[in-house]
Amino acid sequence: MTRQTTVEATGSRLGTGLGTEIRLEGVTKDYGLAAPAVDDISLTIEPGEFMTLLGPSGSGKTTTLNLIAGFETLTEGTISLDGADVSAVPPHRRNLGMLFQNYALFPHMTVAQNVAYPLRERKVPKPEIARKVAEVLELVQLTGRDDTHPSRLSGGQQQRVALARAIVFEPKALLLDEPLGALDRNLRAALQTEIRRIHREVGSTFVFVTHDQEEAMNLADRIALFNNGRIEQVGTPQQLYAAPETLFTARFLGDSNVFELGAVGTGGTVAWEGESWGVDPETVAAHPGVRAAGAIVVRPEDVEVAGSRDAVPVGANAVRASVRDVEYMGSYRTLLLTVGERGLLGRARVSALRGEYAIGDEVVLWWRPRAQRIVAA
């Protein structure tokens, strides 16, 4: 009850309640190297959305964020905020908040001076600055540290100050560049929760860059997965995990068993090393690449382990495998398997209650056709 009233009270004063739409059209950044850093990206980030740009290092996600912030100039394409083209607007007139991995707090200013900085730059009257600084420090739970210098705070506290500074001026959107990358695991989890809460309370658009798929899944409303300067797939974390379009997406998010196929026809079955497997048409990715070269992806938790072919239900897809190793994970264990003639590495997650497996055991893996996903290889 009390919790809700604070949320409403803070939201009404600090947040605008409405986020900004960020639209990228044909965005390209070419440094003149072998391949463009960002290659013809189009993406619409909805007002108030928590969008995560996920990808391996060098995939163009941070460059994209810097392009939105205005720290880099576009080679081609346009970026618009709420429909207004800002491609040529310098960063200090875009009115976007930014959070850096190394916090980028001004070491010669106190916490309060840091947080007040964007307000002073906007010539906000002094009493209002004092009020807003106090408010936002309360929001990030750093009340009473006003006169402390940033160097005397812990990493987590410093990032809270940076967060306060980035939202105090009610920016159109908040851009976060791997803000938790320098923190240890427990602190990361705590700050993830914190960032989600603040996102809810201020209701602004958040764009969060990370290479950590777990973090992306935890935080995001939607994920844009980057690969080689392009967006591989955009969707909710569930969509990306359960319905990947490409092998890259399937491999980047979570573990999977991958069976590479040749061209995938329109028939009801596919063949892999002499096995004939049923296909559920709904599990075939819409990606056009599937027709040329596809791959079957099955998540370890969807794979069942049987002692022999006789134990496999009718209609299930099955393959022979031998146990390579067993990882005990408490309530379940993960079998590492050698699958098929070419000795593919496979994984199956089995309940701890389901008997014992020893290294070298010959088993049969099986799964229902609707548990698999056929993606573009």
């Binding site: 200090h92 908040g97 930014m98 001004f106």
Partner: protein, 286 residues
């Protein structure tokens, strides 16, 4: 007890340096001081003369003004130079470093005679001004000429501490300032400049205090009518053999320097010899 012993032995490596310092600096300095206040009885007459002889105060004032001009000129030239050094690649940085260090590696006499040739009447500088229609630019034998030559020698003392300070400033801070609403100019003055203050302070102190003691350059490039304090000291020791008066003058210059250094330490963070500087941050932080 044993911890005390360890503390004592910890100071041992300092003994040779301290012995040298005592022998060649502290003892002569003490002697000079004693001589400056004895006649042979205890007296402050030598110090009184400094204020009343009508020359010393003028020369001291002129020396301070020259040193201040050199310092400002070195800062104006050195700051952008040091900034550029932090922004270019390692190769270009090496070249910039060599260029600024050349006066260090040149003999004092060679350097000053070179300046005589450059600044003399009918020399290249004067000719260049003639070309653009400015006549009778006299630099040789003037304080302006001395200031120019001193600035060249002092530039490395400004550039090096500035370079080490500017290079340690996180560039992300400027991006952060831009993102928070500062124009490039505002970001520089509100973030970069305050963070570079320690280096500025170190460079300013080094250049100013060293500039107070220039002898050869003003002797060769200046004129006797516009002599600086080091010339006055030389005159009193080598020509007048008035060691007591020279000692008093030397003591005054020393005190001025120490007061300035103490003040800079208080204001601008810790100033160490070549400008490894704690910037802007509270002193109690370790």
């Amino acid at each position: 007890m044993s911890s005390n012993k360890i503390r004592w032995s910890g100071w041992l490596p300092l003994v040779p340096a301290l012995a040298l310092l005592a022998g060649v600096l502290l003892v002569p300095l003490g002697k000079t001081f004693v001589r400056s206040v004895s006649n042979p009885d205890l007296t402050l007459a030598n110090y009184e003369h400094l204020f009343t002889d009508g020359v010393t105060m003028t020369v001291l004032g002129r020396t301070a003004l020259t040193a201040a001009t050199v310092t400002v000129a070195a800062l104006l030239l050195g700051y952008p130079y040091a900034y550029l050094m932090t922004r270019v690649g390692p190769r270009a940085r090496g070249i910039l470093l060599v260029v600024v260090l050349i006066p260090f590696w040149t003999s004092v006499m060679a350097r000053n005679f070179a300046w005589i040739i450059i600044l003399q009447d009918g020399g290249p500088v004067q000719s260049a001004f003639e070309l653009i229609g400015v006549h009778d630019v006299v630099l040789y034998g003037t304080n302006a000429g001395v200031t120019i030559a001193m600035t060249q020698v002092m530039l490395p003392f400004m550039v090096l501490p500035l370079f080490s300070t500017l290079g340690s400033i996180d560039r992300k801070l400027l991006l952060a300032a831009r993102g928070l609403g500062s124009s490039p100019t505002a970001a520089f003055w509100k973030v970069f400049w305050p963070l570079s203050r320690g280096g500025v302070m170190a460079g300013v102190m080094l250049v100013f205090t060293l500039s107070l003691g220039f002898y050869v350059t003003p002797a060769l490039l200046g004129s006797p009518q516009q002599s600086l304090v080091a010339q006055l000291l030389a005159q009193r020791t080598t020509l007048l053999l008035d060691f007591a008066a020279a000692g008093a003058l030397g003591m005054v210059v020393l005190v001025i320097t120490l007061v300035l250094v103490a003040w800079a330490n208080k204001v601008g963070g810790t100033v160490s010899a070549l400008g490894v500087v704690a910037t802007g941050q509270p002193k109690e932080r370790v």
